[in-house]
Amino acid sequence: MILAGRRLGSAPSLNRLAVQHCSAVLPLHYVYHNPLPTSSGASRPISSSSKLFSDDKPFTSLNQNTPFTLCFLRHGQSTWNRDNRFIGWTDTPLTADGVLEARVAGQILYKSGLMFDEAHTSLLRRSIRTTNLVLMETRQEYIQVNKSWRLNERHYGSLVGQNKKEVVEQFGPEKVKSWRRSWDDPPPPMESDHPYWPGKDMRYRNMLEKIPLAESLKDTRARTAVFWDETVVPSLKEGKTILIVGHENNLRSMIMRLENIDPKDVINLSLPRAVPLAYKLDADLKPIPRPDGKLDEATGFLNGVWLGGDDAVKKVLERDHKQVYDTSITENLETGGKWTTWRNWMEFAIGETDPNQSANSAHSEEDDQINDETRGKGADH
């Protein structure tokens, strides 16, 4: 009876397991002659504390191939992103293009070799679905995904639902830029009879008093700081590599704190959708500078690495800026011709996109080689 190398638990049922294994290692013809068990009727009592397999080996991160331990990712295009409307806590779904954006982000992560031990996201479906699609592409559906309201997008108050360009025409670009990107200028508050008042939603029923009426970046940071200190820090200190899938302003609030960006400068920081931003951190969980010692070229603020390159991010941020503020442009830059650069990049990353791809289908056509050799061996950073 070979039991070498097996850790024995305390449960009596383990001995029965040993017997099973013994019968299974006997030559097949012995097993063949075992009769089928007869009915004994009663269910064997199971000790609720029995653990057959110890789950207490010291933690080793799945991420052995890259030096990054933290990755931020903004969700893919949702319906109101496409329609250029202020969203906030409204639970808009991904569009078909948004599904592709999320999958491209997942492909980029897969090719980089980065593997996560856990993921965190908000209670909003656009980021949850982005997380699911990314995990599908990185073959890591099995990791724990934690959802928290603290990662919800900044609450946009009474602007929620309104078209961004129309608001610019009404209030002027300076005011809107201040509402959108400044440190402590919140939009006008939302009334509880507003059509998109989150208090009507089941998911917030136990925290009605915590739902903000409007938030500045400062307010958002107050709630993400709690999340960071209570959840992110312990995980990172344990040696975990984590993925945070969130929303533009919410991520800005965390990145601002991580990178120590001055409140008067943060107005100039914007983030693109669906481009992974990866960080190497030191023992104090401060960002380690990029190899060239410079900050990123896309925003000019970050020590993190855009997996996918600074140039692509720059182009996306320019488009995003025009989409909101350039009132001389009437076409929707989220759809149509000028979008081809992005689309080309998507096709390069994941192959020809199926024009009939349904946003409801969450599976990839060419599935799935269970083969770590096809995974990238790590970014050269």
């Binding site: 397991l17 068990p37 080996k57």
Partner: protein, 281 residues
């Protein structure tokens, strides 16, 4: 019915919603079980076990339909559990999307995995019958506590060779019977799922044929000889109303020996339950 006619209106008001759930579901604890949809290896008729194969296109459609059935029933899960195998995880994702519950907490545990099929994993079922004989394969598939032959650490199917199980210690030689599957499913149910049910949460579990057999055997006190033959159809929600001690409250429309009720076309479900028996004839 009172509750059903107000269903759509209730969702928008937390106060009315909880009042109605008191009305309809007082003293009940609701457990929804869903077996994952058809996988690519179901199509290829291979022993799967812990091999992490995806859903087939039909499997995706099946579980989207399962989600719609759960939503039509007016059920709203509060917390979800699933295995670490993508066919169950993606089943859950579809169901949560269809029921507008994508935001609920989800816990994934290997203890809800399908039964590990040892050295049979990856083998074609018919070829295995041709090689070992129908009776032997029937013993491996349908006995309660005779496991298939083991895999050792040199096998790609030994869990120690998969990163996702790196925190768990497995014996050098590994295989599972329905009995040993139950031995790892039930502690998870008792320690982790049961407290959620007792606190009044509606729980959904998206899992596999044998891990769900383990659960229903426990809930319905099914005999060892009966459970191995019990077929739980894929992508078909199975709803239990439990009392405070988590014993099933028998519902109309149950199919013996279960006291839970399947959602969907009952005739088609019965036909499918009968049909699986023919897989290795």
């Amino acid at each position: 019915m009172f509750a059903s006619s107000l269903r759509t209106g209730l969702r928008s008001s937390p106060f009315l919603r909880s009042a109605a759930s008191n009305f309809s579901y007082r003293n009940k604890h609701t457990l929804i079980l869903v077996r994952h949809g058809e996988s690519t290896w179901n199509l290829e008729n291979k022993f799967t076990g812990w091999v992490d194969v995806p859903l087939s296109p039909k499997g995706h459609d099946e579980v989207i339909e399962a989600g719609k059935l759960i939503k039509a029933e007016g059920l709203e899960p509060d917390v979800a559990f699933t295995s670490t195998l993508k066919r169950a995880i993606r089943t859950l994702w579809h169901v949560l999307e269809q029921t507008d519950c994508m935001w609920i907490p989800v816990e994934k545990s290997w203890t809800l995995n399908e039964r590990h099929y040892g050295a049979l994993q990856g083998l074609d079922k018919q070829q295995t019958v041709d090689k070992f004989g129908k009776d032997q394969v029937l013993v491996w598939r349908r006995s309660y506590d005779v496991p298939p032959p083991v895999v050792d650490r040199s096998s790609e199917w030994h869990p120690s060779n998969e990163k996702k199980y790196s925190s768990v210690s497995f014996p050098d030689e590994f295989t599972e019977s329905l009995s040993t599957t139950l031995d790892r499913v039930l502690p998870f149910f008792n320690d982790t799922i049961a407290p959620q049910l007792k606190s009044g949460k509606t729980v959904i579990v998206a899992a596999h044929g044998n891990s769900l057999r383990a659960l229903v055997k426990h809930l319905d006190s099914i005999a060892e000889s009966e459970i191995a033959e019990l077929n739980i159809p894929t992508g078909t929600p199975l709803v239990y109303n439990l009392d405070e001690d988590l014993r099933p409250i028998k519902q109309g429309g149950c199919i013996e020996p279960l006291q839970g009720r399947y959602l969907g076309d009952q005739d088609a479900i019965r036909a499918r339950i009968e049909g699986v028996k023919n897989q290795t004839k």
